[in-house]
């Protein structure tokens, strides 16, 4: 357990550093690569915590995101210019960071220890019910899938609806009719 914890903290520090570089760098390509590195660290953390389903999904989504960002975003010119540092803004950031860290301290003090989640007690819990009834009730060997598509199928339907609506929104922004109409109005 300690080896897993050390690896997890190393990955977390790596991801935080990658995110900071992605925010602070002036080069768009470097920022995209750093975002990809942070996502890859998250996939490795999922593997360390023995969640291969999540790790697989995170890794392929990260690859696609990096490819799309590099192909679509980076080839364009970067028109952003540096904003001057403001003392008030810096003070507000430091204040909010301090409040956030204080809230984190109180929250983590109240959390259960690592590796002993709330649902894994000896008393009959929801996770225990899933493990006990997953195979006989659904016939699926992969319990993650049996929860996603059988016990929690309604949630997955909502999730699919969210993706559908967001893609429809993207099409509505990028569709040809609006572009041609906009061009003819000009």
């Amino acid at each position: 357990m300690t080896a897993i914890l050390i690896g997890l903290f190393a990955l977390l520090i790596f991801m935080i550093v990658a995110c900071l570089i992605a925010i602070e760098t002036r080069d768009l390509l470097s920022a995209v690569v750093c975002v990809g590195a942070a996502g890859f660290g998250l996939a490795l953390a999922d593997l360390l915590l023995s969640a291969p389903d999540l790790a697989l999904t995170q890794m392929v989504v990260e690859f696609i995101c990096v490819v799309v960002l590099i192909r679509v975003v980076v080839t364009r010119q970067d028109h952003t210019h540096e904003t001057p540092k403001d003392t008030f803004a810096l003070a507000a950031v430091v204040l909010c960071l301090g409040l956030f860290l204080a809230a984190c301290g109180f929250t983590f003090a109240a959390l259960r220890p690592f590796g002993a989640p709330l649902f894994a007690g000896p008393e009959p819990t929801m996770a225990g019910q899933y493990v006990a009834h997953g195979l006989p009730d659904t016939g699926a060997v992969n319990y993650v899938t049996s929860i996603l598509l059988d016990f929690r199928g309604y949630d997955t339907l909502g999730e699919a609806t969210v993706i559908f609506v967001s893609i429809i929104g993207a099409y509505a922004v990028l569709r040809s009719v609006g572009r041609i109409g906009h061009a003819s109005h000009k």
């Binding site: 392929v60 696609i64 699926a140 049996s146 997955t156 559908f164």
Partner: protein, 152 residues
């Protein structure tokens, strides 16, 4: 190389050949992740993303001119909508057996491909839907933008 890619002609023949070979393997891997989602790690979402990755690889290597000859602009939208309707239909068909999202098909033997009732079918619908979605976004951003700028 960048200049030919920008004009829509694709990359060099070496890249095209390797991409053509790899795209088939990536498609098969994505299909296996989707179809075996109830037996091994993976499932509809991850497999769908892998499926879209195969198409994105072909677009990146062959350029949008070749891709637009074999694939219409409406294809991702159509597959996206059909797969979403199929998933909803599977959910609503549960009413025939008693309830929403009821697993009405026979469960079958565990560890076999045909087990889990409606779960493999749901995985297939979600895989097609996610793959069409992501490829549609990539196509709308990278391929069809130039098409519209030319036609407009």
């Amino acid at each position: 190389m960048q200049a030919t890619s920008e004009s829509g002609g694709g990359l060099s023949p070496i890249v095209k050949t390797v991409a053509r070979w790899m795209a088939g393997f990536i498609l098969v891997f994505g299909l296996s992740v989707v179809l075996y989602g109830h037996l091994t790690p993976g499932g509809g979402f991850a497999g769908g993303v892998v499926l879209s990755a195969a198409f994105i690889l072909v677009v990146l290597s062959h350029g949008r001119r070749e891709v637009l000859q074999i694939l219409s602009e409406r294809a991702p939208t159509i597959y996206d909508g059909l797969a979403a309707l199929a998933f909803l239909l599977l959910a609503v068909l549960g009413y025939a057996a008693g309830g929403f999202f009821l697993n009405f098909l026979p469960k079958g033997q565990p560890f076999q491909l045909w087990s889990g009732g409606i779960i493999p079918l749901c995985n297939l619908a979600i895989g097609v839907k996610v793959g069409a979605c992501l490829f549609g976004v990539f196509a709308a951003l990278a391929v069809f933008r130039h098409l519209h700028q030319r036609s407009a």
